[in-house]
Symmetry: D2
């Protein structure tokens, strides 16, 4: 699917601070960037990196005062398949080594605490069927609602609160999958038809020798997702991380069929 | 320094479960393995991996019943230098990309909560001086004591409890360094002259283009440390991780000058 | 029902410390103490109080070295009725003032976090039917198991863990009732036919102008319960609270039909 | 000191809900109410209670739609003394029974976790000197700042955050006093010269046979404090508690010399 994505981030950095942006479309196999443009206003010297594993790109820069980052790209995100029920789960011994870290609990995903719950709730299933059962449980039990969670909310808390936003749905999905012995990692994305338009948080699971992207909120069709970055949880994939506090002036994201 | 390390781990796996061991000496530059031997009794088929970044080795196997793992090695761990006061801290833009994940908060290290504390307590310092100030603070404020913490204890809790073991000291050190903008990662190790002998948890910080190993407990001389594995915190470097529960029958570790 | 209760508590207090015991049968209306005897060995000067609300008795003393407290009583605990489905819930305006504190969250019962869950899970019910639905949910979802929780475990954690002991069952029951607008308080008790015999933690709810005792573990028949003390949660009803740490040497509780 | 206090609370209750207000000046010995007036607009039927221990008054009512509560009083708050260094701390055995609950940890005050910290930080002191040392520590280590905490913040979190508002200062003070074996309870108050004017949260400690009021923020002179309600922590003394959510339209508090 060809998509045109745009993001404008206007932030005030006072005092000056180091910043890390993760907002560019990833160089992920099957996801082709046809056009792309990024500008800082005023102009800023940025250091760009790309990680070998995911093709995620990181911009690092020293920021001061009010700065506008404008990013636009035209992307063909290829063919994204929904997760089938019958893809099988690997024994740990059969996982590629680079997938192992996504079994570990992380800052917002204390999967070590959910072993008994996943066995009770989903014990009959494994592989694709287990992940789909987890997504069904989340859909049936968690309300999509702003104002309940904040940037410190963990999956443990969302499990109690029974409400949250895409970040929280993703943390809970990651937690329940890892507790089930399934490698799972957080993915930031542009998402077609997401209402209201914003950066989206989703996740992917490793089953049957591949990563399968799922949207635990069910808010955006899987075929309209464009990968940006991946990591253990929101701590790794934030679109903006700064050492000192900064203030959002305004921000907009749009995703359209191209 | 030439050291002879030995570990014997006897565990009962009932029900059968997938397991991940991280107990072999790492293939870390400057740390030479002169002899090495690993046996399972009864014999077990294990899948061995080595990560590219650290040279840490991972053994994965499916375990059942009571199994004894015996490991021995003779190692020349090279020359390990103590951290000097004057090594400088990098701006984020000057860090190698592979070091960035060690700035993020992790399962046991909520460094995002400690920004104000580190500025108040250590705000005058940076680089080596900051890390040494953090180690001094830990030494002055935290008691080394068994029975206060358990495998779920976070650095936030140790900061309140004011007591813990090597794992907790390491989590608190990692947390305060990351909150200070310094990449820091957990390291498991064999440690000469550690009393009582056991696997040790320490950490290393990235300053002046290199990793510097520090022992926040001060219990083992830095020159007698032998690296095993590294990661974000204890969730990544446990010497044994299993999907189902297992039971320790007995375990011993010894480290001697060779 | 006439019951003979006995408790022997042998503790070592080193260093010397202030202690509060709550182990005597309460002077609760309808619960008659026919015989009673309490001795300290060696003899200790204790200050005894009785609270006006519940008739709970508190022994305060300064302890040193190893001390044995032996308590025995014969009690007629009257007629304890199981909670019927159809007892009605009060509007807050109709509650007696002394009952209001039992609507508040407490140390181990963060009922303020469970509003959405109780509405989702039990929203159709109120009064006795709501409490019985909560007890059914606990029975269906929480395993009675030692070793999962400790003295710091909150109801929030038990809700995640899905396992615990009588203290945890009680905290979760209190939390879900208070989140439902029903006053609920923790009660310590002697319990006939509890296996293994021990002090028991249960709770009671205020409905239809009276307190109704319930056992969320279902381990002891309601007609064999003998009230000791009551409070907001385990912080108030511990059978022994000390300012410094103390060490249990041994402890036994027995309850027999008299 | 003669003070004129006024409060206007405009809230929207949608859906209708039970509510508990605690905003009237307490009938505390030595605190005389010279004039007083309370109105609801539109008129509401309210049930008023007064607790025997503190003279705190509670208004309970069923609310619906937008309601304005206006309260005004002229009070002579008597002579409030600052806490002297040399008032002595009681052994637990010498405390009145009604004071004992204020030794227990509570929802926002996990004093059970701070035993080691208070011994390390304040171990040399007891009684008035201990409380004053605690207040000095809070003043030196905690920033008064809005936006760091919210209504769920516990003293454990404020101890880490090193910032908060009057509610957080009070919770931390309560926690450190109870961990020191000193009964301490939360008090809501009108406060002369508090800037900006608002309901204030302070606390009082039981030493030398009396309650001593202290303001851990140091923002209001002790002689201008007027007691409203007391309890274990903010869960008990909120000026407005509702079963369903409600929305503040506007609120104002003024306190002037009369």
């Amino acid at each position: 699917m060809k998509l045109r994505v745009r993001a404008e981030l206007v932030y005030r950095f006072d005092p000056p601070t180091d910043a890390i942006y993760k907002i560019q479309v990833a160089h992920w196999p099957g996801q082709d960037i046809l056009e792309e443009r990024l500008t800082f206003s005023p102009p800023i010297q940025a250091h760009e990196d790309e990680d070998a594993e995911f093709g995620a790109r990181t911009l690092r820069c020293h920021m001061s005062g009010e700065v506008t980052l404008t990013y636009g790209a035209v992307v063909d995100n290829g063919v994204l398949r929904g997760l089938p029920l019958n893809v099988s789960q690997h024994d740990w011994g059969d996982l590629p080594a680079e997938v192992l870290p996504y079994l570990s609990p992380s800052r917002y995903c204390p999967s070590d605490q959910f072993g008994r719950f996943v066995t009770r709730a989903f014990g009959e299933t494994s592989g694709g069927a287990r992940v789909l059962a987890i997504l069904d449980w989340i859909k049936a039990n968690i309300d999509y609602e702003h104002g309940v969670s904040d940037t410190e909310t963990t999956a443990a808390r969302t499990f109690i609160d029974r409400a949250g936003v895409c970040r929280d749905f993703t943390h809970l999905g990651l937690t329940l999958c890892r507790a089930s012995g399934i490698p799972a990692r957080a993915v930031s994305a542009f998402a077609h038809q997401l209402e209201p338009p914003d950066f989206h948080a989703i996740f992917e699971v490793w089953l049957d020798n591949g990563w399968w992207l799922v949207d635990p909120t069910g808010l955006a069709p899987v075929e309209g997702l464009v990968r940006i970055a991946c990591g253990r949880d929101a701590a790794d994939i934030a679109f903006l991380t700064t050492q000192d506090r900064c203030e959002m002036v305004r921000q907009s994201v749009t995703v359209e069929a191209a």
